[in-house]
Symmetry: C3
Subunit: 398 residues, 3 copies
């Protein structure tokens, strides 16, 4: 952590992020390098203020609406924490796991829940081609509502995980990397392995690996995506990655060997996910209400998974990484051998060695979310940060 | 919106609403004209302040307890928004859809949840003869609790929909009418049609039509209630309407023809509801736990409904209204032909033309609820409004 | 209530409770007499400030996380009220009634929900040997998280009911006794009967009777525990009670006769609970997933209970208490004859005579919880109280 707030303000002063004001956060690759840097910097500034017991409330009242299509303790608490940090009260809208009706209903509901909403956080990652599209429908609806005088303010959207990207997770992962390696400028030439790993459950979202390679290819690193044959991610994301890697002076490559990916890696991110093609199929089956087909697909996928139990982050594999000490990442919860399952993504001794760093990785998320909201809500974030420091309202009065 | 806050304060100064202080809000027809006017004016004043980024928090801490007997996204968010606007944190009490035990249990629970409660919002519309009575039991219990020193403050009750009235909805509808027609004094002689309309679902609450005619008959309008034979509302409410219409210089009439009701109407409110007699029967069946009887009744009601599919707000009918441009109202969500159902309450093109105005109609509700709370909590609301403006705490610090 | 805040500050000045700072609250018998006195005094001071419309918010933002293993309206609202009183927003973590996984998962979840948490309130009373242990695991995890820089603050734990003790309930009961008898110094030599009573349900937690005798034996009272044979509580708690009673100059005795316990009692607390041995057995059956065994045990326990329907707090029994006017206590809700059940813990006329006092008894709980948090969070509580009075921010702006 820096010694004073001015350090962060100086950093922000060098960045161009004016288009974030009154904007939304859908995908990291829709943002410029400067915009992402602004999020990282502001997240650190907010943490600096909080750890110095200075209130960061920029709202005296107002709601943060969360809309989760799936059970979620961690994301829900991260979002609630971010809102609380800025002075917003959370109201959860629980729509269940069903595929929501589109068009009229979404537009209407979006407005009905937004009369006092300054931010809407949505997690909708289960159906390919649906989650991100749904978020856009919501944003279009509230933007119209604001323009037409239905809403007194336009809520900003924060993507808390969609079918394509998981920006708050990956930005938190990246903040952890930056802090671990001592600055974003230290990352050029580093090797990061985003690798599939075996899990006894199936159908884990693709948005984590896609988000990771979609973000990590922007910092001059050598990004390797490893998975067994058949576990491909969305091709559109890979196209983005290739362009970004080239532009940043790094590389993006693929392999079907976990060993190859781990070899000399500085950072490893072994995690299970479902094949893109299977997820597309599942989305269609759900759309058709074909429960028999869904059950059959699940069985096939579990059988397919079981062929790759050797894709595990073992001590042996870790030894092959850079100095045997690659930074191990995970979005949590991980499937740990002999702890949460018999065979899983990682050996218990590896996980345990990185337990505290993993918790730190997660601890960045509330600040990342808060930073995204802050940048969408404040025309001059530097001035507001300065004013917060000068007002010096104590977060905890003691 | 007025140019300054003084406009609203001047309006309030001409009204007598002193009995609202420390009171509750059950039914609109239990309030005087001045008291209703105070709610409308204060709602506008709060919206004025918020749209000028001035905090309207009159509570530094305190709870708003919501008690819903039914799933409710819209009402829940409206209540949460109103509480947040005034500085109260919402705590939801979910008692399920069951008919709650009365007497001892209600009195006890009412006090146990109210130690820090400044407001209790209740929605209990499912059972005839129960909802409103339940609210009175709660109010009596907390009033006694306050008097006896159990509670440090007496929570005010806001009726968020009972078996008889839906005051926050109808007051929001009325606020929308007032704003659309340019003032309450413009309403004399206007014709409003509260009409039954077909819906593929059954058992929609009577409190909306009853609330609408119970409120709209107070402004000198010609109020027409239209429904097929057998879809009568509570006779007690009709008695109130006749008296109110006479007193206000308007009229209240009934017809079994939707066409007759729509003819030359300035405002139309086509909406499905269940017959009062059937709802009474259902309440008894639920009381007896007669699930077979309930299923049979449902079947009968759906069959009865299906005979009246022609009760739809069509383009053709809309053309017969005043200049073909009557203001279309609905409490939302509506059953829209070809959108949310095959045959429903309204044709899609009609609904779509009024979509933004319908959202605006809904947007008044949080302010109406907040105004009801404000008037129950502040002895001198004008002075508090003035003080809020002078303090000028920014809602959003920017 | 005292005439001024200084009264409470003077009382606090005479007590040594410095070890409560940055501590947790698990069991009352782990606290010194001075520490318990500090909780009672601070609870009163907070109530004094609130009733004088002075804000007691010591947090500008921050979360209070509640973790309930069981449905709970009352405890949930008490905790929410306490958090709100101090400026914390509540976030509920619902883990269902299942026995939660231990070790890794608990440590991880504890940290993931605590990034902005200043307090964690846990209720986990269903399984013998589990609830209190679980709370310790959570505290150990967040303490490590704080030390390692994962968390910016260490959340304090408040035990909202475990398998051993129910400190917030019993402290509220005791606050009620103190206020009723005019001070803790009036309690020496008073007789209190903690008695089993019949209830048509089974398996009510042992933590209430254990908590009551575990606390009440510290004030020089004659504490009598009465229950039918076979309804023993945890022997470890009885050991504690004997020592405490001796030290305080009172006594602790047991009887299998309700009449003997009530004879000349100043205070009676008749309440159902399950036999300790049966609860141990049930815990094992749940652990084994033996649903058949659980059903069989339930049947046995209900039959066993039914043999003791005569264990009821009747008017006749009440007449045998001191001047026929013993203070009747209950943690609520009670099983009332002819009201909530046919045969229960207490006759309706007895309950009704004590209804208002029972509500008052309950009303202390939010303040007791708030006091526990306050003492864990403030190094110099007296100075903070004084500062709050001087700042004199109005809780309700009027």
């Amino acid at each position: 952590m820096a010694e004073n707030l001015q350090y962060y303000i100086d950093k922000l002063n060098k960045l161009n992020f004016k288009d974030m004001y009154e904007g939304n956060f859908f995908l990291t690759w829709e943002k410029t390098d400067d915009e992402l840097a602004a999020v990282f910097t502001l997240a650190d500034a907010l943490r600096y203020l909080r750890s110095n017991n200075i209130s960061t409330k920029i709202f005296d009242s107002g709601l943060g609406v969360s809309l989760f299509r799936d059970n979620s303790t961690r994301t829900r608490f991260s979002f609630a924490s971010a809102c609380n940090l800025l002075g917003l009260e959370v109201q959860d809208l629980d729509e269940g796991k069903s595929q929501i009706a589109h068009g009229e209903t979404v537009r209407e509901t979006a407005n009905m829940i937004s009369f006092m909403a300054d931010v809407i956080g949505i997690r909708d990652d289960m159906y390919i081609g649906k989650g991100n599209a749904y978020m856009h429908t919501v944003v279009d609806a509230v933007t119209e509502g604001y323009r037409e005088g239905v809403l007194e303010q336009k809520p900003t959207l924060v993507n808390l995980q969609c079918d394509i990207d998981h920006p708050t997770q990956c930005m938190a992962d990246m903040a952890h990397i930056i802090h671990t390696f001592g600055g974003v400028e230290q990352l050029k030439g580093k090797k990061i392995a985003m690798s599939w790993a075996y899990s006894p459950s199936y159908g884990k979202p693709l948005s984590v690996p896609q988000g990771v390679i979609g973000l990590m290819t922007r910092f001059g690193m050598d990004v390797v995506l490893a998975h067994p044959e058949g576990y491909e991610v969305m091709p559109e994301v890979e196209d983005v990655d290739l362009k970004q890697a080239k532009k940043s002076g790094g590389s993006f490559s693929k392999t079907n060997s976990m060993a190859e990916a781990f070899k000399d890696a500085d950072i490893v991110y072994p995690k299970s996910w479902a094949p893109f093609a299977a997820m597309e199929k599942r989305t269609k089956l759900y759309g058709d209400g074909d429960t028999e087909g869904i059950a059959k697909l699940e069985k096939e996928l579990l059988a397919q998974n079981a062929e790759h139990k050797d894709w595990c982050c073992t001590e042996e594999l870790m030894k092959t990484t850079k100095d045997g000490k690659a930074l191990y990442l995970h979005c949590l919860p991980a499937d740990i051998n002999g702890v949460s399952c018999k065979d899983g993504e990682v050996e218990a001794s590896v996980f345990d060695r990185y337990r505290v760093p993993l918790y730190k990785e997660a601890s960045f998320k509330p600040y990342i979310i808060a930073a995204m909201i802050f940048l969408a809500k404040e025309k001059d974030p530097q001035a507001v940060l300065k004013a917060l420091e000068e007002k010096a309202v104590k977060r905890h009065f003691e």
